[in-house]
């Protein structure tokens, strides 16, 4: 019996956005029986959304235990031949024991930083790649656990004034930079904003503290994400990547993914109407792995031509022969894979600290798909028909094999609320434009969203050029707008636009900007690569969608220019000095006067004068001698 089966999930569907699934305790089971029908109805609509949020249900439910730890791996094959693996780790500690520095499952290194920087809620993201919403459907966790390309950090810092909040933010970013081996210290005033409409606190904060909380947000779109970021991430886990599902995490596979996102969320969770608060840390890793690519041996990953005998040919073609081959259509054929293929090795038992009521491994495939698990594991099939979970034997390795299988039934893809893309338009070195295309695929519901841009200071936005077109027509869909203009070298532009997209329509937001010219020393060493512009964040209720980052080419000088300048100025100096010197010391005369000024004439005259002088003195001397 799965812990995530419908009979134990109480669902409250406040809106289509606000899904909170609560897992009831085992002894409460009889009370839930009557709700089953409604639940099943709701589940039919929300099944896929829940497939990932089901664990979130556990997360949002305040548990009475003072300290606990859950972990779960969710696998979902995506078309074509891709696999989404979502790792989720979550632990709680009571706020009281946290304040006494009794951390238990909460990582001490992070806890002390949070205390030192007076941070009440923290969200940190490391992401790479692009989520292909057209073919992969809605994002895992509805986009709530993902960040823009690079590093994104936002936090609620408790402080009495803006200056104090800035100081604590500086402390926080620097400390996190040391902990996670990332250049988070580069989140300075030019990259920090205070969003107004986007980002709401996820945790429960008391009314007295919430007035003192400052939301700060920073992004580093250029930051690379690599093994040195995964190492500290794993060290925060109670089982440190040695046992449990975290033992599958390997930098070599994670950073080979088509898309990946690591997240850390820390937030206080309080029971309604009581002071019994818990501090919750949720760590997730989501990655989209290419099954065929993962199956390549690690020491020889470079694709080489396949031997003739291994080619898969469509033998039904009439021209098929020993020297002609039409590749077989593999779409109907499900790929064969196993955990060891995908992650490099099988799962090393369960984490002994994890709560046993949560099944550690789940997979979203139709029940018709064969899944062979290793001995000791128990399979729990979900009633929805597309999900099954496994409980593992504690000390045994766990392996799961999905054989090659011809199957027409596929787990349905959940449609995202919004498709978003953003690109540069315009031409030239000095100005340009940005165009964001937002499509609402729903046929019935309009979407109310907040579009947030944080632009670097050297990309100067012209607000009056901001236009929104809906299905190609000018229409006033912008409901509210917040703007903070950039100051050179001090802060970036912040723009938040709230608008509504009607059902089944496309909105195109455009604006123009001007590029600033940087000072020579402000260019990075690889200036010709371009400058990364952080992704736009589109908030729809508690779901966030991010566009990809942009690469802005700025006019870059030829970096040998200073030497050219030195050489050129020296030449100009020499030339002008020569002219002026000549003008000063020479006299320019007409040709017929030249004889008068001939140097030889002057010399002769001087010589004559000297002779005269000499003769006079000579006489004088003679006279003296005579006398």
């Amino acid at each position: 019996m799965s812990n995530f089966s419908a009979s134990r999930i109480r669902l409250s569907l406040t809106s289509y956005l606000n899904v909170a699934a609560h897992q009831t305790q085992q002894h409460q089971q009889p009370q839930c029986a009557q709700r089953d029908r409604d639940i099943n109805l709701a589940l039919a609509a929300m099944r896929l959304f829940l497939s990932l949020l089901s664990l979130a249900g556990v997360l949002f439910t305040p548990t009475s235990a003072s300290s606990d730890y859950h972990e779960q791996l969710n696998l979902r094959p995506l078309h074509p031949s891709l696999l989404l693996a979502s790792f989720n780790f979550q632990s709680n500690t009571s706020l009281a024991s946290f304040e006494q520095q009794n951390f238990r499952y909460f990582p001490r290194s992070l806890g002390q930083i949070l205390q030192h920087a007076n941070t009440r809620e923290l969200h940190l993201r490391f992401s790479l790649g692009r989520w292909d919403a057209e073919s992969w459907g809605a994002r895992p966790w509805g986009g709530a656990r993902e960040g823009g390309t690079g590093v994104e950090l936002w936090a609620w810092v408790e402080a009495e004034s803006d200056e104090e909040a800035d100081g604590r933010w500086l402390t926080l970013t620097n400390a996190l930079s040391g902990l996670f081996c990332a250049s988070l210290n580069f989140i300075d005033s030019t990259r920090t904003i205070r969003p107004v409409m986007s980002f709401e606190p996820v945790g429960d904060h008391s009314n007295t503290t919430i007035s003192d909380l400052h939301l700060l947000h920073g992004t580093l779109p250029r930051e690379v994400v690599c093994t040195e970021n995964l190492t500290p991430f794993l060290k925060l886990l109670p089982c440190k990547g040695k046992a449990g599902i975290s033992s599958l995490l390997d930098g070599h596979k994670l950073f080979d993914a088509s898309w990946q996102s690591m997240s850390i969320d820390v937030q206080p969770i309080c029971e309604a109407g009581s002071n019994n608060c818990q501090l919750q840390i949720t760590q997730t890793i989501d990655m989209v792995l290419d099954i065929q690519r993962s199956k390549r041996p690690r020491d020889n990953p470079i694709p080489r031509p396949v031997a003739e005998s291994e080619l898969k040919c469509d033998t039904s073609k009439e021209y098929h022969s020993h020297d002609t081959c039409f590749p077989l259509d593999a779409a109907a054929q499900e790929e064969e894979w196993s955990l060891a293929h995908i992650f490099g090795h099988s799962l090393k038992g369960t984490c002994p600290l994890a709560d046993e009521s949560t099944d550690p491994v789940c997979i979203d495939v139709p029940h018709a798909r064969h899944v062979y698990a290793s001995e000791g594991a128990h399979e729990h099939k979900d009633e929805s028909g597309y999900k099954r979970c496994f409980s593992l034997a504690p000390d045994k390795e766990f392996e799961m094999i999905l054989p090659e299988q011809e199957i027409s039934e596929k787990a349905p893809l959940e449609q995202p609320l919004l498709y978003a893309e953003r690109s540069f338009i315009g031409y030239g070195q000095e100005s340009g434009g940005v165009q964001a295309i937002l499509t609402n695929p729903s046929l019935t519901d309009s979407v109310d969203f907040v579009y947030m841009e944080t632009l670097p200071w050297f990309m100067k936005l012209y607000l009056h050029t901001l236009k929104a077109k809906i299905n190609g027509l000018d229409e006033d869909i912008i409901k509210e707008m917040y703007y903070r203009p950039a100051l050179d070298r001090k802060r970036g532009t912040q723009l938040e636009v709230r608008a509504i997209i009607p059902a089944n329509s496309t909105v195109v937001l455009t604006y123009d900007f001007e590029k600033a010219i940087l000072r020579y020393t402000e260019y990075p060493p690889d200036a010709n690569r371009g400058f990364d512009v952080a992704p736009a964040v589109i908030t729809i209720g508690n779901i966030a969608i991010r566009t990809t980052s942009l690469l802005l080419p700025l006019p870059t000088p030829d970096f040998s220019m200073p030497y050219n300048v030195i050489i050129l100025t020296s030449t100009v100096m020499a030339l002008s000095f020569g002219f002026i010197f000549n003008l000063l010391v020479r006299r320019f005369v007409a040709l017929d006067e030249a004889d008068q000024w001939d140097v030889r004439a002057v010399r002769l005259k001087a010589l004559a004068a000297l002779k005269r002088l000499a003769s006079r003195f000579g006489k004088g001397v003679k006279v003296e001698k005579k006398e």
């Binding site: 040391g178 690379v224 093994t227 190492t231 930098g251 703007y483 903070r484 938040e496």
Partner: protein
């Protein structure tokens, strides 16, 4: 004469007392500063050089907390890398240098001359995390390894700036003045490397480089699947020695063994060693163990003479009392603050928040403004036209 000797006795005694301390004045911690200064994919080998040194010192016992690793570019997760998450320093690809457990302290644009000198001299802001600081003292032995592209008395950082031999010498002098090292081994692999240590003037430094002035340093070999050269010759033969001769932390190999192992015909340049700054010169320096710089030692100094258990317990008790006292005081202070801050909420609701984005209001009167503008403009042109009419009859 006798009186004079008698007067000298205390001094002699003092020297005798001090002597054992001087003899046992060994280092009590080991640190490594490993710097690659080259960006861009084709400089893969410089990062591989540094990472192989990183693996070596880690193997010989220096913990990550005492290694400062500076990598100016991302090779492991570079899109050009056919082996994601790995860096290899040999075409046989036997050892993945990036591995599963690595801590890079300074990376990307953080690797600058300024940050490097600030690191050495510890001139950093108070917000700088401990993992990015060189927390050494006068009993720390430091290995400083640098690699990149250089020339006569300079080393390029990221193709954008340079550190000169003079800057480096002054930084080391400042370290010495601040008692930030006990002994320092400086090792550099770049073109004309020996010129980089020629300006050093601080004591207790042994310096070695890969090539003389006007000599290039060469790469060792390339890996065709990685697509670029994977290691430099000088570093390759250093590693060769460290891997084959210094197999465990108890190794007694000396620096002499290391430096004598250099074969110029293999390295293709003339490696140099500078001993003159080291007390005792070449002779003393040659006897230093390789492990004094590349490994971690656990030399412990005990200040007092063999303390007994009761003394220790007494100390513990006193410490416990002190902690209790401090805690009590803190609690009292906290209570006081709480009492004092009771009327605070009124004040705290006034938290100043001015650094916010402002709301952009739609301008509903823009037509009116346009009309005013058109009127003003036409008025002006009317005046101008009248004026020109007045002029023209004349």
């Amino acid at each position: 004469m006798k009186l004079f000797n008698l007067l000298r006795l205390p001094a002699v005694l003092a020297v005798m007392l001090a002597a054992p301390v001087a003899v046992t004045a060994e280092h009590t911690s080991n640190w490594a500063v490993l710097v690659s200064t080259s960006r861009f994919w084709f400089n893969y080998r410089h990062l591989a050089n540094v990472l192989s040194l990183y693996r070596t010192v880690k193997r010989l016992g220096i913990p990550d907390s005492q290694i400062i690793l500076m990598l100016p570019d991302d090779m492991a997760c570079n899109p050009r890398n056919a082996f994601p998450g790995t860096v290899y320093s040999n075409a046989d690809r036997a050892v993945d240098l990036y591995g599963d457990n690595i801590e890079v302290d300074y990376r990307g644009y953080e690797v600058t001359v300024e940050n490097f000198i600030r690191l050495l001299t510890d001139r950093v802001g108070e917000e700088m995390p401990r993992s990015k600081r060189l927390l050494t003292d006068d009993r720390s032995n430091i290995l400083v390894y640098m690699t990149g592209h250089g020339g006569n008395e300079f080393l390029k950082f990221q193709d954008a700036e340079e550190i000169s031999a003079f800057d480096l010498a002054d930084a080391f002098e400042q370290m010495w003045e601040k008692k930030r090292y006990h002994e320092l081994l400086f090792m550099i692999d770049t073109c004309q490397a020996n010129t980089m240590y020629s300006k050093f003037y601080s004591p207790n430094i042994i310096a070695t480089g890969s090539s003389e002035i006007d000599q290039s340093s060469y790469s060792h070999h390339a890996d065709n699947d990685v697509g670029v050269a994977v290691i430099d010759r000088y570093t390759y033969y250093n590693l060769d020695f460290l891997e084959t001769q210094v197999r465990e932390p108890s190794s007694k190999q000396t620096l002499a063994d290391l430096f004598d192992s250099y074969d110029e015909s293999k390295i293709h340049s003339h490696p140099g060693v500078r001993w003159d700054l080291f007390p005792g010169g070449e002779q003393a320096g040659r006897e230093r163990l390789v492990m004094d710089f590349f490994g971690n030692v656990q030399n412990v100094e005990v200040d007092s003479t063999a303390g007994n258990a009761t003394e220790f317990e007494e100390d513990l008790l006193a410490l416990g009392k002190k902690i209790a006292e401090i805690r009590e005081r803190a609690e009292r202070q906290e209570a006081d603050e709480r009492n004092a801050s009771l009327p605070e909420p009124l004040h705290s609701t006034h938290t100043t928040r001015k650094l916010r984005a402002t709301k952009v209001e739609a301008d509903n009167r823009s037509w009116g403004k346009t009309a005013v503008g058109v009127l003003a403009l036409s008025g002006c042109s009317l005046v101008w036209w009248l004026g020109s009419q007045m002029d023209s009859p004349a």
